[in-house]
Structures are given as structure tokens and as C-alpha cells.
């Protein structure tokens, strides 16, 4: 057999080389490929506002509607308190609404509309109230209301 002839051993080594090389490139590709970016999601609440935000921004935006504690007011989630409006403020968060009522000596109660409100013009509006209506409306998840000094007997 001459030195330049191709033997079965040469062929086997060649095939094995192709296999190992392919696997190595495959692994290299997997390691260097950028991870697919997370899709930007619209808000999954009652009314889609249409904004495409990265998930962490969406979470930060929605966090401003979460219930907060107050020393001055008794807050009730999902409650609308009609009537007695002093002023309607456009605010960034529920806590901004609470602070606005706290700072206003006339303000006995407030109602805050979450950003999920189906009517765009009411989203994140804070109504400061002199005296609340006699009957609150419960079961309204787009609202949070608070009264200075508690709600009295139910």
C-alpha cells in the first residue's frame, strides 16, 4: 500500500474530525448567541392602553396603583365615593393622592381612579372631597377611596 493512499483508518479519522468540529461549533454558537429579548407586553388589565413597555417598566407603572397605608385615612379598595368634590387633581400615584388630601385642611375624604379605569379621562384622577356622599359604592375595582377618621359603622 502506497503512502499516499486513503485507508479506512483515514476515512474514520476524517469523519470523526467533522463530527467533533461540528459539535464544537454548535456549542460555541449556543454560548455566544444573544438571548432573545423578552417581548414587550401591553397591560393585561381591563382596558389595554396600547403602550408597549418592557415588563419592568410596566410593573413600575402599575405599582403606583397598589393599595397604600395611611395614618390619617382609612382606605378602602374598590370603593367609589360619589359627591362632595373640592377639586380633581391629575396625579402619578395613589400615594400622591393621599398626600394631597392630607395637606389640604378642607379635605375629609378622597377617591382615586386607577390607570385601569375604562374612561381614559378619569385615569389617575384624584378627587378631594369636603364631605363624602352618604353611601359609598363598593365593588368598583378601578377606585380606591379614603376617609379621614374612619368609615363609621357599616
Amino acid at each position: 500500500m502506497s503512502g499516499t493512499g486513503i485507508t479506512r483508518r483515514h476515512l474514520l479519522f476524517g469523519l470523526a474530525g467533522i463530527g467533533i468540529g461540528g459539535a464544537a461549533f454548535g456549542l460555541l454558537g449556543r454560548a455566544t448567541r444573544a438571548p432573545a429579548p423578552a417581548p414587550w407586553v401591553p397591560r393585561g388589565l381591563a382596558e389595554d392602553d396600547g403602550w408597549l413597555l418592557p415588563p419592568e417598566e410596566r410593573a413600575a407603572f402599575e405599582a403606583a396603583d397598589a393599595l397604600v397605608e395611611s395614618d390619617v385615612f382609612a382606605l378602602r379598595d374598590a370603593v367609589d365615593l360619589p359627591g362632595g368634590d373640592l377639586e380633581a387633581l391629575r396625579v402619578r400615584s395613589l400615594s400622591e393622592c393621599v398626600a394631597a388630601c392630607e395637606a389640604d385642611g378642607r379635605c375629609e375624604a378622597f377617591t382615586y381612579a386607577r390607570a385601569s379605569h375604562p374612561q381614559p379621562e378619569k385615569r389617575r384622577i384624584c378627587w378631594l372631597k369636603s364631605e363624602a356622599a352618604e353611601r359609598e359604592i363598593a365593588g368598583a375595582p378601578d377606585y380606591v377611596s379614603g376617609r379621614r377618621g374612619g368609615w363609621g359603622p357599616d
Binding site: 414587550w40 392602553d49 396600547g50 403602550w51 408597549l52 413597555l53 407603572f61 391629575r90 402619578r92 381614559p120
Partner: protein, 462 residues
């Protein structure tokens, strides 16, 4: 004096007879005049718009996304035609927009320059585009003041060899026995209030430039009832009716200083900033072309998300409102047909049935999503999609296209690459009714380029 009375002159003195006195007729006549041809323009209306003439001649039926009052607003029956309501948007079709045509962009390039000259536009917009964010090309429209022929009739009346007959409606064509030419025209004259038949010699050319609805109406009415209407042997006349679906205010962008639109070339004039998908994104959209106009807008703090986004971006945040214009595929079932009743010229009235297909609207949505991704990857900018403006409130642009479609196969089109009605030596069509695919660009510039091209062809002909 360029205005003539047809009952006195007849058609004999003219080399070319044109139906309709709008911007197509202007571009056509300009080239024919330069070639020394004698031209007669027939116009239903008069020098000033008459709402009664308009109402009597354009009353029609409609079904689909466009109402019976929609189409007539873009089918103006007066000297100057629909230039009276044209807003002045100009952009040539791009090469990919000629997808279904037997000609390409290069065939029209010299004539685009003619059309731009007639519309008094600086030329740089014809060739300008620049890469923008990933997936997009910046390609603003020219938005110089529109040309209203009704306000400047001398542009047409001063053309040497060009005459105009007002109150004259082309109401039918008589084919020669061998159906290889048109040998007569029936014209309704408002003066005596009657239809008259005028013979056409074989050396005389006839051009329909009566708008996308009007051109179809004239051809469909050109029959004695015992055989196919002129040009309609393959039942293609009136079909493939297309619009450009528009979704106004279908998006918002809030961006920081790092969103910079590319510089325009010297002498561009007044631009409408607009982006279109690049080749890769165009493919992903399934071959539907889309333009997104970026219009400067005040920030809207009443939208809590916009306020949140703007405050994160900082003091330099600014907003754009997006309007989308998109391509509508040619569908033979979107069409103009004849219906009951007759207009004052004796032609049967028309009915338009035209529905915007869902894929045209999806292309807008996907284009907005892609732009959102590219803006986010490029820096601080966020985009809002206003769903209802795409899927509920999309409307047209008054761009009536496709009803006398251009093609090389007479079984699937009405005119050939020279705008000649298949089989007829002396019958031609000028206007957006010959568009085989429509792209997204407003059609005025392109229909004038086609008319100028036809004018040069007919000017050279013996």
C-alpha cells in the same frame, strides 16, 4: 380662446381627444402640446364647481368600507377635476411597488421629473431616502402647496394647440366592426342637453382621463348590449378597485433627544417625515408596503402612561403622533359595476363594492410593533398602538386605483404597458385607474408621470 363649442367644431380638427380635465389631462396635454399636437379636452363641469352638476353626475351606490358619498368626493366634475381637493402629497412609487406592473420604476423616472416640474416641486424628494432605525427607511413625502388647476386654468388654456369643451361628457364609445379601434364617440352636450355621435378617424386618439370611477363607467357603458363593452372582453373593467387604507393617529411615540431624523438634502422643500419598512421588514410584513408619518405633537400628560414614560425620559422628552398609510392588494371582487338609473349624459350609474382586507390592517400593526422594538433597542423611546384607529377607524385617502388595470396579459388586465386598451389601436387610459399594484404613496405624482409618458408616446406617433 381655448374654450370651444363642440357643436360648431366637431372632433375633426384634433389629433387627441381627452375625457376629463384634471391633473392627468394636464400632464398629457403639456407633452402633446410640446410635440405640436392638437388636443381637445372634454369636461362634464364648468370653470367653477357647481354642486348641482356634481350631485347629478356622481350619484352612485356603494358597499363595503367606503360609502356612496365617499367616492364622489374624489370624482370632481369641474374644470381641474379632483385637483380642487388634492392635499399636495407627492412621492414616487418605489421599485417594489411596481410588483404587478409590466413596467418598472426606471420606465417612469424621466416622467416623474416632468410631473414634479408641472407641480412646481423641487426635485430632490424623487430620489431621496436614508437608513433609519433597524427595519426602517426614512423616506419623507414632498408636501409643497398643492396645485389646484381650477384656480390656475391658464396652465391648461395657454397650452398651444389645446382646446377645452366644457359641459361635454364622453358617454360612450363605438367600436369598429373588427374591434381593433374606436370609430365613434357619443358625447353629451349640456348646452342643447342632448347626446351626439361624433365619428373618429383612425388617425385620432382617444384618452380616458376621467378618474378611477369615471374611466370604468365610460368603458362599461360602451356597449350596444349585444356584445362585451369596449375593453371588457375579459370582464376586467372596473375590477381590482384599490384604495390606500389610512389609519390616522394610530400610534404615539415618546422619545428623548437621541431620536434624530436624518438630514434632508439641500432644497428638499417642505417634508412630511415618514418611514417605510426596509427590504427585510417588507418581506416579514408579507409584501404589504406601509408608511408611518411622524408628526410632531405636544406631550399628553392626561394619559398617565405617557406622563410616566415622559418623566422617565426626562426634560427633553417629546412626542410624535403616527399616521399609517398602507397597501391594499388588488382583488377582482373589489369592483365598480353598472347599476340601475342613468346620469344626465345617459350613462348607467355605477356601484362600487370595496372592502379593506384584514392583512392590510395587520401590516400596520406589525409595522408599529417592529418600530417599537427598534426604538427601544436604539435608546429611550416608547411607542403606543391605538388599536381602534387601525381596526375600526381605518379609511381611504381618496385614491381610486386599479379599475382599468395595466398588464401584459389581456385576460387579466385592461390596458397594456403603454396604457393602450388591449386590442384597440386608438384608445388609451390616463390616471390611477391603470395602477396594477398601489404601494402606499399618494397617486397624483405617479398618475401624472404616466400621463406625461403617454403624452410623449402619442406625440411621437404619426
Amino acid at each position: 380662446m381655448a374654450y370651444i363649442s363642440l357643436s360648431e367644431t366637431g372632433l375633426d380638427p384634433y389629433d387627441v381627444v381627452v375625457a376629463g380635465a384634471g391633473l392627468a389631462a394636464y400632464a398629457l396635454s403639456d407633452r402633446l402640446s410640446a410635440a405640436g399636437r392638437r388636443v381637445l379636452i372634454l369636461e362634464t363641469g364648468f370653470e367653477t364647481y357647481d354642486p348641482e352638476v356634481q350631485a347629478r353626475f356622481t350619484r352612485m351606490e356603494a358597499r363595503g368600507h367606503f360609502s356612496s358619498t365617499y367616492w364622489p368626493r374624489h370624482w370632481v366634475r369641474a374644470f381641474g377635476g379632483t385637483s380642487a381637493v388634492w392635499a399636495g402629497y407627492c412621492l414616487p412609487l418605489s421599485e417594489r411597488n411596481f410588483r404587478d406592473w409590466p413596467i418598472g420604476r426606471a420606465d417612469l423616472d424621466p416622467h416623474y421629473a416632468t410631473a414634479a416640474r408641472l407641480l412646481r416641486r423641487p426635485l430632490p424628494f424623487l430620489a431621496y431616502s436614508a437608513p433609519f432605525l433597524r427595519g426602517f427607511t426614512y423616506r419623507p413625502m414632498s408636501l409643497e402647496p398643492p396645485l389646484n388647476l381650477a384656480a390656475e386654468p391658464e396652465l391648461v388654456t395657454d397650452l398651444t394647440g389645446v382646446d377645452i369643451a366644457l359641459g361635454a361628457t364622453l358617454a360612450g364609445l363605438t367600436p369598429a366592426t373588427d374591434r381593433r379601434s374606436v370609430r365613434g364617440a357619443t358625447i353629451h352636450l349640456a348646452g342643447p342637453g342632448e347626446r351626439r355621435d361624433f365619428p373618429l378617424a383612425s388617425r385620432q386618439r382617444l384618452v380616458l382621463a376621467a378618474g378611477g370611477i369615471g374611466n370604468a363607467q365610460i368603458l362599461l357603458n360602451s356597449t350596444d348590449g349585444s356584445s362585451a363593452a369596449v375593453g371588457n372582453a375579459a370582464d376586467r373593467v372596473g375590477r381590482h378597485l384599490m384604495e390606500h387604507p389610512h389609519a390616522y393617529d394610530c400610534g404615539r411615540i415618546v422619545a428623548g433627544e437621541d431620536l434624530v431624523l436624518p438630514d434632508l438634502p439641500e432644497g428638499f422643500g417642505f417634508p412630511l417625515p415618514s418611514v417605510e419598512p426596509d427590504t427585510a421588514l417588507f418581506g416579514e410584513l408579507g409584501g404589504h408596503d406601509v408608511a408611518l408619518d411622524l408628526v410632531d405633537s405636544a406631550l399628553a400628560p392626561e394619559d398617565p402612561v405617557e406622563r410616566f414614560v415622559a418623566e422617565r425620559i426626562g426634560a427633553n422628552a417629546r412626542a410624535f403622533t403616527l399616521t399609517a398609510r398602507t397597501e391594499m392588494p388588488a382583488d377582482p371582487e373589489n369592483r365598480v359595476t353598472l347599476t340601475e338609473g342613468r346620469d344626465p349624459s345617459g350613462m348607467r350609474r355605477v356601484r362600487a363594492s370595496c372592502a379593506i382586507p384584514t392583512e392590510a390592517l395587520r401590516a400596520i400593526e406589525h409595522c408599529l410593533e417592529a418600530l417599537s422594538g427598534s426604538l427601544g433597542a436604539a435608546g429611550a423611546a416608547r411607542l403606543r398602538i391605538v388599536n381602534a384607529e387601525i381596526y375600526r377607524n381605518a379609511t381611504g385617502g381618496g385614491h381610486i386605483m386599479g379599475t382599468t388595470r395595466m398588464g401584459s396579459d389581456p385576460r387579466d388586465s385592461v390596458v397594456d404597458a403603454d396604457c393602450r386598451v388591449h386590442g384597440y389601436e386608438n384608445l388609451f387610459v390616463a390616471g390611477s385607474s391603470v395602477f396594477a399594484s398601489g404601494g402606499y404613496a399618494n397617486p397624483t405624482l405617479t398618475l401624472m408621470a404616466l400621463a406625461a409618458r403617454l403624452g410623449e408616446t402619442l406625440g411621437r406617433a404619426a
